[in-house]
């Protein structure tokens, strides 16, 4: 492998990782943008998403990496699994919001955030008690196609992940920019009181934000499974933390910022694994985050919020 190939390969690695972080970061950013809430339950909604996807794929008869599908059956199974996983995760998100967070809406301070920590514990332990902590061989129907680009290797599943991530991000951007509910979301993010006075149903906006955020977490949970062929109860924390970092890096509350942040964190992770070693990856990621925030406190794409008076 030449060093050029190596760079290319690490870029491919970083982009795949980054797409996953970006989807997860979008979920953090959506909820944060509207409620200024750091939603810790997001970590484990993501994990639950990968478990749900695993169970659905198993129900389709996919076993490990041995059931290879092609053509229409493959597309059908993937689309169906994505759809059901996203809807179920979205439902979990809506349930969390409706029954556990809404009663706390008017409470200032970190009480709501702490509730999400509690929810995170509950989700984690429900999965732990029902499915166990062992690593599960995630059923993957993708054919093992790969392309050689010089010395670097690009796999079908990497292309698929990029396409899905880009598609979901595009759909979300469209939704936020050009639809009625998107306008309502942006208005609520700017000023909930004013939005309410202008006739925006804030409850509905928050619910939609939670649905989208959790559905994206579900999708990235499934992508995680397809990419690593693995599902495990403890995957939420590390991935969630990096995605959250990505959201902040890009400017929390900012949709393109979350995508950019995700990709950057993915690339940093790949490059620091190459250069300084994985033992120090977290130190590199968080060190860089501190530097960025010191020099650009609102994140890369964030605006410095005017002091609310």
């Amino acid at each position: 492998m030449t060093s050029g190939d190596l760079l290319l390969q690490q870029t491919i690695n970083g982009l795949s990782l980054g797409s996953m972080y970006a989807l997860l970061a979008l979920g953090f950013t959506l909820v944060y943008g509207i409620m200024e809430l750091i939603n810790f339950s997001h970590f484990n909604v993501f994990m639950v998403g990968s478990m749900i996807a695993m169970l659905i794929l198993q129900a389709f008869g996919v076993v490990g990496q041995e059931t290879v599908m092609t053509g229409l059956p493959l597309v059908g199974v993937l689309v169906a699994t994505f759809a059901v996983t996203m809807v179920l995760c979205g439902g979990i998100g809506v349930g969390i919001e409706r029954y556990l967070l809404r009663p706390l809406r008017s409470v200032k301070g970190p009480a709501v955030m702490i509730t999400t920590i509690g929810v995170s514990y509950v989700l984690f332990n429900i999965v732990l008690l029902t499915l166990g902590t062992d690593a599960k061989n995630f059923p993957n129907p993708l054919p093992p196609i790969l392309y050689n680009i010089g010395g670097a290797v690009l796999r079908l599943r990497e292309i698929l992940i990029w396409v899905i991530a880009l598609g979901l991000m595009g759909a979300l951007t469209f939704l936020v920019r050009y639809t009625k509910i998107g306008r309502a979301m942006r208005a609520t993010a700017q000023d909930p009181d004013a939005a309410r006075m202008m006739g925006v149903e804030v409850d509905r906006v928050v619910m939609v934000a939670f649905f989208l955020s959790s559905a994206l977490a579900g999708a990235s949970g499934m992508i995680f499974g397809l990419y690593y062929n693995l599902a495990k109860v403890d995957i939420g924390f590390a991935a969630g933390l990096r995605a959250f970092t990505a959201a902040v890096l890009g400017g929390i509350g900012n949709v393109p910022g979350a995508m950019l942040g995700g990709v950057i964190i993915g690339l940093i992770e790949a490059m620091s694994g190459q250069v300084v070693g994985t033992a120090w990856t977290d130190v590199v990621i968080f060190g860089l985050l501190v530097l960025v925030l010191v020099f650009r406190p609102a994140g890369l794409l964030g605006r410095i919020a005017p002091n609310k008076s």
Partner: protein
Amino acid sequence: MISRRTTFKVAAAITAASTIGIEAAHAADKVIKVGMSMSFTGADADSAARTASGAILAFEEANAAKTIKGYTFEFIKLDDATATAGQYDPAQAATNARKMVSDKAIVAALGPQMSGAGKAMAPILSAGNLATITPSSTNPDITDPKFAAQYKPNGKAIYFRTVATDAFQGPNMANFMADKLKVKTIFILDDSGAYGVGIADAFQGQIEKKGVKVLGRDRLDPKAADYAAILTKIKALNPDALYYGGVNQAGVKLMKQSYDIMPKMIKAGGDGIYGGDTLKGAGFPAVDGWYVTNASPHVTEDPKASKFTTAFKKRFDVFPIDYSATCYVGAQVIIAAAKKVVDSGKEPTRDAIRDAIGGIKLADSLIGPVSFDENGDVTNKVISVFQVKQDKSKPLDDPDSQFKYDGVAPAA
């Protein structure tokens, strides 16, 4: 209102007449109570449950067979994980050690799983004269005579292991890879855990002595998902082999991803990635070709192992892990020690059992012959090497048929 003190006594009195998870004892039987402090909640909950189940099986078998006339075995589970730590918590392990020491009915213990917990427990257990047998904590410090003042202030060994310390598995495998596999260059990874770092360090020390060039050493974050970056780096360095010190948590992810990135490289690890869970988690073809070691001699055509696996699966509805076996044997050691004490006409007290454990010799256990040196370490230091070779005619997660015995790793 009942005070805590009385509750404690009432509880003791009642549990004395009942057993947990074991058929009701004969009213006349006296109880030999064993404490088990492991991480039953949090990140390691599953392996703790299956490790402890090994002991439960052994006690149930002993009770059913009435191995010791007039006595029934009973155990109490104590969780050393806390929500605060999210996993094993040495402070809670220390509390559990005190709890076992203050419960006079407990005469022996099994656990802990983690060396970090062991370091917090050992001084307390030593002061309380309570012997414990650890099925899985392999950090050599605790039984190192250098730290005797710290970990056995009472002088006598109380921390016994049915698992070889890192000091043997790593170096022996290093010899095997240098001599038999003719490896010239290698890259070494560990999983940040006490076990993984220890075994990888020991491996690295020996393989450097053998003149093999170590192209690099790195550490995986077991909670992270993506090892593609480091594996791509390794691929570019193109060593003859990859050695991984660690357990399944990072191990199965490593197996999957290293198969994608460098399917043909020689890859090896320790007993942390030996077992049905590894096969199930990593799956074929990723796991195919990996070399692993196990800290016991391999007895060919030995029906014991499959008998144990069958019994375990039947009783608990899951496959045993490697530590289920070491814990099973640990419990057998306690049973044998108690039997020896009772047979000699004495009461099975803590002191008596502790002394007896030191002299126990199990000639033919599930993990080979078991006896202990004066520090509490298992004397059997034979390291067997296996390689995964897919056998499609057998269940793909059955370790007995998928791991092929490849000989003994030469001692360092």
